[in-house]
């Protein structure tokens, strides 16, 4: 994301960018026992968040996105903040932010509905499945009435979407799923590690735009106040990214199978 010129230009011209390290990166070393070792980063994730100058968070972009997806998501948020600024001070009132987020979640659900309605093949929508919304096809001759909001109770909707996110987070990593999908192909037709990585980012970005971003909108719509950056960040990591940021062991030592070596590190 940060290697794209359009993103760099947007960050420099429209924001004051800053980065922070939440904690050191957890690493794992696999010793194959034959002299070879494999080192990898173990878990984690990233979060872009938009803050007002007083440190309150107004929007967040958890996980990974393609530059195009991140760009269009950021521009929607900027358009909202620009509109607010035109009416007065930079800090928009809480009710306006909450209503904007609820409306954005609604827009996301409608987009999913539209996609299902127009598609000639079956399109799965984790968001609609989580919210229990089924497409309704108009009867012949039926005039479109006034559109009712699809999401009326953001708190309840957030609970439903969060449960769906937990289910998705238990699936194998995207790159591994793509690799398995291509495993039957002859070797020369299988994607290279670079291509596999790119495909995984594209797929994760789609999932994040279609499920995680609406969840973020519901999170803010359900908040009683604009949250400060740190607690909001931790809540988003825990609840939406399923990363237990405040557990020093990242939840990895919750259950130890028989024979597992216990941690020797100091707590």
């Amino acid at each position: 994301m940060l290697s794209d010129n359009r993103i760099i230009e947007l960050l420099n011209s429209r924001f004051v960018p800053v980065w922070e390290s939440i904690r050191p990166v957890p690493k794992v070393t696999i010793d194959f026992g034959d002299g070879r070792t494999l080192k990898r980063t173990l878990t984690g994730n990233t979060l872009f968040s938009v803050l007002l100058p007083d440190g309150r968070m107004v929007d967040a972009f958890p996980g990974v996105y393609t530059p195009s997806d991140l760009l269009s998501e950021l521009q929607v948020t900027l358009a909202f903040l620009d509109k607010q600024r035109a009416c007065g001070p930079m800090a928009p009132p809480l009710e306006e932010v909450a209503e904007w987020h609820r409306a954005q979640a609604d827009v996301a659900a409608r987009k999913e509905l539209m996609q299902i309605t127009l598609s000639k093949r079956f399109v799965e929508s984790p968001l609609l499945a989580a919210l229990g919304i089924r497409p309704r096809f108009p009867k012949p001759g039926e005039q479109p009435g006034k559109e009712q909001p699809l999401i009326e109770d953001p708190k309840a909707a957030l609970e439903q979407v969060s449960r769906r996110i937990v289910d998705v987070s238990h699936q194998p990593a995207t790159a591994e799923r793509i690799r398995q999908e291509h495993a039957r192909l002859p070797e020369e037709k299988r994607p290279s590690p670079e291509k596999l990585g790119q495909m995984a980012v594209e797929q994760d970005s789609r999932t994040n735009v279609r499920l995680l971003r609406p969840a973020v909108h519901l999170f803010f719509a359900a908040e009683g106040a604009l949250p400060m950056a740190r607690p909001a960040r931790d809540a988003i990591f825990r609840r939406l990214l399923q990363v237990p940021v405040d557990d020093p062991d990242f939840g990895l030592s919750d259950g130890l199978p028989p024979g597992t070596l216990r941690s020797t590190g100091s707590r």
Binding site: S21, T41, A229
Partner: protein, 81 residues
Amino acid sequence: MRRSTSLFTLLAFTALAGPALSAPSSPSPAVKPVPSALAADAPWRRVQWAPSLQAAQERARREGKPVLLFSLFGKLDQEFC
């Protein structure tokens, strides 16, 4: 959401896929390849990062802009995920 393709994992795919698997018995290359995201001329270094959140907030107040905070595990200029 699944902790699948973090930025560094992607980097690992593209730059470290081979070298990360080390075989001490074989001769090691004289120069370790530098992952492009960590290189001195990496594109993210052109972002005008504020030195701290507090400094970012002060600048945001002066310039009338929102802050964009990037939170990560590890360090942007070292290794992160």
